[in-house]
Amino acid sequence: MYRTIKPTAVKWLAAVAAFGLIAAGTAGAQAPAPKAAAKPAAASKAVAAPVTPAKSTDATVREIEKYREALADGNPADLWEARGEDLWKQKRGPKNASFEKCDLGLGEGVVKGAYAKLPRYFEDTDRVQDLESRLVTCMVMLQGFKYDQAKRAPFGSAENKSNMEALVAYVTANSRGAKMNVSLSHAKEKEAYAIGKKMFFHRGGPHDFSCATCHAQDNIRIRLQDLPNLTKQEPAQRAYTSWPAYRVSQGELRSFQWRLFDCFRQQRFPELDFTSEGSVALTTYLARNANGGIFNAPAIKR
C-alpha cells in the first residue's frame, strides 16, 4: 500500500509548493487593502495608481484559475481514497465485519457508481439516506458499533484523521465519470427534496441569511470566490459533482456533510447535526438539482 502512495505524496508536495507561490502572488495583489486600514496616507497615494480595479480583479481571477489548474495535477485525496479502501475491506467493530456486505443502494458491497444515485430511499431503514448516513447504518448493523460511536469524529484534523472522510473518499472516487441520477420516485424521496428545498430558502440567524442569499443568483461572487446558483441545473451540476474535495487550506479531505456543516456555520446558524434527516434532505435537494452532471470527485480546492 505504501508503495502506491509514494508517487502521490511527491505530487502533493509539488502542489503545496505551487500553492505557496500563487498564494504569495495573490497576497501581493491585495496588499494595499490592509494598508488602507493602518496607513491612510499610503492608501490615498495608491488610489492614484492608473490600474483600474476591474482589470486587476480579472487578472487576479485568472491567477486563481491558473492556481486551480496547477493543483489539479496532484490531488492528495488519493491518500484518503487508499485509506478508505483499506477501511472498507478491514474486519472491524464488535462484530468483526468489513463493509463488503454494506448495501449503498446497488447491492451488497457494490461501490461502483453508487454515490451518483445517492441520496435514495432504503427499505431496511425506511429512510432516505446519503452516503454518510448509510455508512453509519452499516457500521451499526454490520460491524456492531454503537450509533454514537459510528457518528463520532465525522470531520478530521491533522491530529485526528477521520475514518468517515476516508470511507467517503473511497466510495465517491468509485463514481468518478458516472452521471448524477438521483431518483424522486419514492414518496419519501419526494418529501426529502421538498424539505431540503424549504431549508435552502429559510432565512434566519442574526444575519438573516439563507443558502439562497449566496446561491440563488447567477454570476455573483463573495470576495473573489464565484458562487454557484444551486437552484439551476448547470451550476448545480458543476458544484455538486466537485464534492467531496481535498481542501489545501485545511490539509483535509472534506465530505459533502462537511460542506453543509461549514456553510451553516458561516450562515451563523447552530451546528448542523451530522447525518440528521434535515441534512440528508438538503443534500437530496442539491444532488437532484445536479442530475445529469458527470461526477468528478474527490476534487481539490484552495
Binding site: 493602518a38 492608501a43 490615498s44 442574526p206 444575519h207 438573516d208 456555520r265
Partner: protein, 204 residues
C-alpha cells in the same frame, strides 16, 4: 347592504382563523425536520432558526419578488426600530470603518462572543478601490459619498441602512447590523465615515 357587510366580515374572520390554524398549532413536518437538524453550539442557540414577520415573508418571496404592499409593511415596521444617534452625529472614524468592513468574524459558533464583530462589507460590496478582493452580491459602494453628496440626509440614510437594511429595501440580502446587535452604534458610525468622509479612500 348589511348582509353583504356581515358576509364580508365572516369571510374575513374565516380567512384569519384558517391562517391562524396553519401557522400556530402544529408546525408542519418540514419545519420540525429542519429544527431537529440543528443543535446549539456556543453562542449559536436554536432560536436562531426562528423568524420575525419580515424573514418569514422574505423566505416566501426569495425567488418571486415580494408584492409592493407587503414590502411597504416590512419597511414601515423596520424603520421604526432604528434609534438614530442621540448626538445627531453619523460619522465616526473611516480608518476604523475600513477595519470593520474587512473583518468577517462574529456570531459564528466558532467565534468568541466577547470580541467585537466585523461587518464583512467587502464580502459583498466594492468599496475602497485598493481592495481587489470584493464580492458582487451587493452593489458597488465605491464613491458612495462623492456621487450622492456629503449631506447630513445621506449620512443619516447610510446609518439607517446599515442599522436595519429592511427599513429601506424589504427582503434585501443585507444583514440588519444594528437591529440584530451585530455592530454597536460606534462601529456603524465608523462605517458611515468609510462611506461618507471625503478623506475616505472610498471617495477618492
Amino acid at each position: 347592504m348589511k348582509t353583504t357587510y356581515l358576509m364580508a366580515t365572516l369571510a374575513l374572520v374565516a380567512a384569519t382563523s384558517a391562517q391562524a390554524q396553519t401557522k400556530a398549532p402544529a408546525p408542519d413536518r418540514a419545519t420540525e425536520v429542519m429544527k431537529a437538524a440543528f443543535k446549539e453550539r456556543g453562542q449559536a442557540k436554536l432560536d436562531r432558526l426562528n423568524q420575525d414577520k419580515a424573514m418569514e415573508l422574505c423566505t416566501k418571496y426569495t425567488v418571486t419578488p415580494i408584492p409592493r404592499k407587503l414590502a411597504a409593511e416590512i419597511e414601515a415596521e423596520n424603520v421604526k426600530t432604528i434609534p438614530f444617534p442621540a448626538d445627531g452625529k453619523y460619522l465616526g472614524d473611516w480608518k476604523a470603518g475600513e477595519r470593520i468592513a474587512q473583518s468577517g468574524v462574529g456570531m459564528q459558533f466558532t467565534d468568541n462572543p466577547a470580541n467585537p464583530s466585523g461587518a464583512n462589507c467587502y464580502a459583498c460590496h466594492k468599496l475602497a478601490p485598493q481592495e481587489l478582493s470584493y464580492g458582487t452580491i451587493g452593489s458597488s459602494l465605491y464613491q458612495f459619498g462623492k456621487l450622492r453628496g456629503y449631506s447630513p440626509d445621506i449620512a443619516k440614510y447610510a446609518y439607517g441602512k446599515i442599522y436595519n437594511s429592511q427599513a429601506y429595501a424589504a427582503c434585501s440580502n443585507m444583514p440588519r447590523f444594528g437591529h440584530n446587535k451585530i455592530l454597536t452604534e460606534t462601529q456603524i458610525k465608523d462605517l458611515v465615515a468609510l462611506l461618507m468622509d471625503p478623506e475616505s479612500p472610498v471617495n477618492k
